[in-house]
Amino acid sequence: MTSSTIRPASDYPPGGDAFRHRHLIGIAQLTPWEISYVLDAAEEWVDLNRSGAAKHDDRLAGLTIINAFFENSTRTLLSFEIAGKRLGADVVNMHAAQSSVKKGETLIDTAMTLNAMRADAMVIRHGSSGAVQLIADKVDCPVLNAGDGRHEHPTQALLDALTIRRRLGRVEGLTIAICGDVLHSRVARSNILALTLLGNEVRVVAPATLTPPAVDRMHVTTFTDMDEGLKDADVVMMLRLQNERMDGAYLPSAREYHALYGLTPKRLEKAKPDAIVMHPGPMNRGVEIDSSVADHPTRSTITEQVEMGVAVRMACLDILTRRQRGVAGWN
């Protein structure tokens, strides 16, 4: 598979060539070194965010960022809002519940309205796969995908990769088990793409009813037995199980799911002794993950993921607005 023409993930080209995209729609469009570039940029923001009182940088001062969320979200919206504000941008949030989307306006019309307000970047979440690309094709500013249907959630995959890299010292050559409702999960899709691209062995551990068709074509191995799937894993990445999946259509009950696929301390023993446990949140404690695992002081990375989220989003907002801001080398 390796070829001399493929640039290693650790080596990215100078200037604007390091990230040659107008938008961040998905991991599918990225190269390994583009991912590394974002992660390296985010590292600097981690330091700033930890620096006490002066968590501020004014490089986006005067720019307007619209967070247009057509689907409910608390943590991702908050994370993007804080990221924008720490960079000095004027951040505006639009919630579908308060918007004209409910009055029958089409998505394109809403996008054109936001565009006319001269946003300098838009962060969009939508319940339908492909909706963010549809908007990106119509507006003049960079668009960041904050989750579209079951398709992609690229900043989540980037923050997960950063978390793994910081905890384990690398994010390549690892065995990573992604467990739970993979079928309906955009987090899983973006993570599968990012982690396989960076050279890890990715496993999908899910009930047969929640395993996407032909997912092995994305270079993963699939497991329906969780104990087998976790064997010798370096990273156990849990997914949130939506309540509506537990009503009998996909799964018999929450308690059966917990019995077969819940991450208990005992089950975690199958993984490597120092394996880390990740979850994108919000968690269903006692369903997909036991509290003792979720709150484990050394193995759980769940709050660290939230912290990395802000840093990664700051990096993405910074990188994607460099063209407007006339940063040298970024034409």
């Binding site: 796969s129 690309q133 249907g149 994305m218």
Partner: protein
């Protein structure tokens, strides 16, 4: 306007030998006539193909400019708009295109196409319905389907079926596979088609009712049809060019113009469809013409409505099948005209004495490019946008009268 006799000379009849054809009183009077009546108008075809006007079996809108561009002289209108479940509506639909386009309404099999109660099939037949159909979905209730088939058969009407199992396809907008998984689209297994076909073939075997599966798009579905035909069951099936020339990779980048019903299939299934065209399992090639504007298509993939504007590209992709060696020109026009005419009970669709003079001239070599922005149809939702094709209708007569 009085109809003058018409002689078309120097034409390749059905794409083969050069010959001529005489039309009097709106009907084909002779092939290669030795003499012609006084006052005959002569048209020199200059070596172009002469073929029967296309009879498009199963369209969702009466879209005359698109049909005329595509060489379509008659269209069987599916019952979904309306729906056509009432004799008055059928009668009105039948008058929709006259005189230069004949619309043959296909009546709804059940009231409101809901799949519960029989529609007034007999009265709709009297009003001009030429067949009945289950619409865009199948009839889920096997008991209702059995009664529909038996009743329609007693009235000498063919039942046109959409074959997809509703349990498997609920909520799905694509076929299971790598493409749907990567795009994060809800998908259904391709066997949803074979399951539906298997049930209806069992009902056909029991009732003896003639049926036409409007679109069969999977290898397993086609195997079932092949076996049923070998048993002598009164079964026909059709397809549109989309499933012959596109696989599910066409939905990449969430292209809603490629959102179809049934959804595009894997490459294996596409190749099986081409083989079934070549071996005669597939009887009918139709456009499935379903023009849809931006309000229905410029949406996230799963929210967009299925369907494509196919009338203008039907002939060109049919000619592709000839050029690629899958069918002879004569068989192509069986698929495009003769078999649909037989199914609908029309005295048309062939170059034979006594047939209605619905004729087209075809320049089979003209190259052109499909352009969604420049379509004659009232919406340009074609999944073939940008593709180069060859061949188009250059002249058209309906009942001996020049249309274009």
């Amino acid at each position: 306007m009085e109809l003058r006799p018409l002689l078309i000379t120097n034409a390749r009849l059905l794409g083969s030998e050069i010959g001529s054809l005489l039309v009097t009183e709106g009907r084909i009077a002779a092939l290669n006539p030795n003499e012609t009546p006084d006052g005959t108008e002569t048209v020199d075809a200059k070596g172009q193909w002469l073929a029967p006007g296309i009879i498009d079996l199963g369209v969702f809108a009466t879209d005359k400019p698109a049909f005329h561009f595509g060489g379509i002289t008659r269209a069987a209108l599916m019952p979904d708009a309306g729906p056509l479940d009432d004799p008055g509506l059928v009668e009105r639909a039948a008058k929709g295109g006259k005189p230069d386009l004949w619309v043959h309404p296909v009546a709804a099999a059940t009231k409101g196409l809901v799949g519960k109660e029989l529609a007034e099939i007999g009265l709709m037949k009297s009003a001009g319905a030429r067949a009945i159909a289950t619409g865009r979905t199948r009839i889920a209730d096997s008991g209702v389907m059995r009664r529909v088939l038996a009743y329609a058969a007693s009235l000498d009407l063919v039942t046109i079926i959409h074959a997809e199992d509703e349990g498997l396809t609920a909520g799905a907008v694509a076929t299971d596979g790598e493409m749907a998984t990567r795009l994060g689209l809800a998908s259904a297994p391709a066997i949803a088609e074979a399951i539906a076909i298997a049930r209806d073939l069992a009902l056909v075997e029991e009732t003896g009712a003639p049926v036409h599966f409007r679109q069969v798009t999977t290898a397993r579905g086609l195997d079932l049809i092949r076996a049923a035909k070998a048993k002598g069951l009164p079964v026909l099936c059709g397809i549109t060019p989309a499933h012959l020339f596109l696989a599910d990779t066409a939905i990449g980048d969430f292209r809603t113009f490629a959102r179809l019903s049934p959804p595009l299939r894997s490459e294996d299934n596409r190749l099986a469809c081409l083989a079934a065209v070549a071996d005669g399992t597939i009887d009918v090639l139709s456009s499935g013409h379903d023009p849809r504007g931006p309000e229905d298509k410029r949406l996230p993939f799963a929210e967009a409505l299925p369907g494509m504007a196919g009338a203008e590209t039907l002939l060109a992709f049919g000619l592709n099948l000839v050029r690629d060696g899958h069918v002879t020109p004569a068989r192509l026009f069986d698929m495009l005209a003769a078999t649909p005419a037989r199914l609908l009970g029309l005295n048309a669709g062939r170059l034979a004495v006594g047939m209605e003079a619905d004729l087209i001239l075809i320049d089979d070599g003209t190259p052109w490019q499909v352009d969604a922005k420049k379509m004659a149809a009232y919406a340009g939702n074609t999944p073939f946008d940008g593709m180069p094709v060859q061949g188009r209708a250059t002249a058209m007569w309906k009942g001996g009268l020049r249309v274009r």
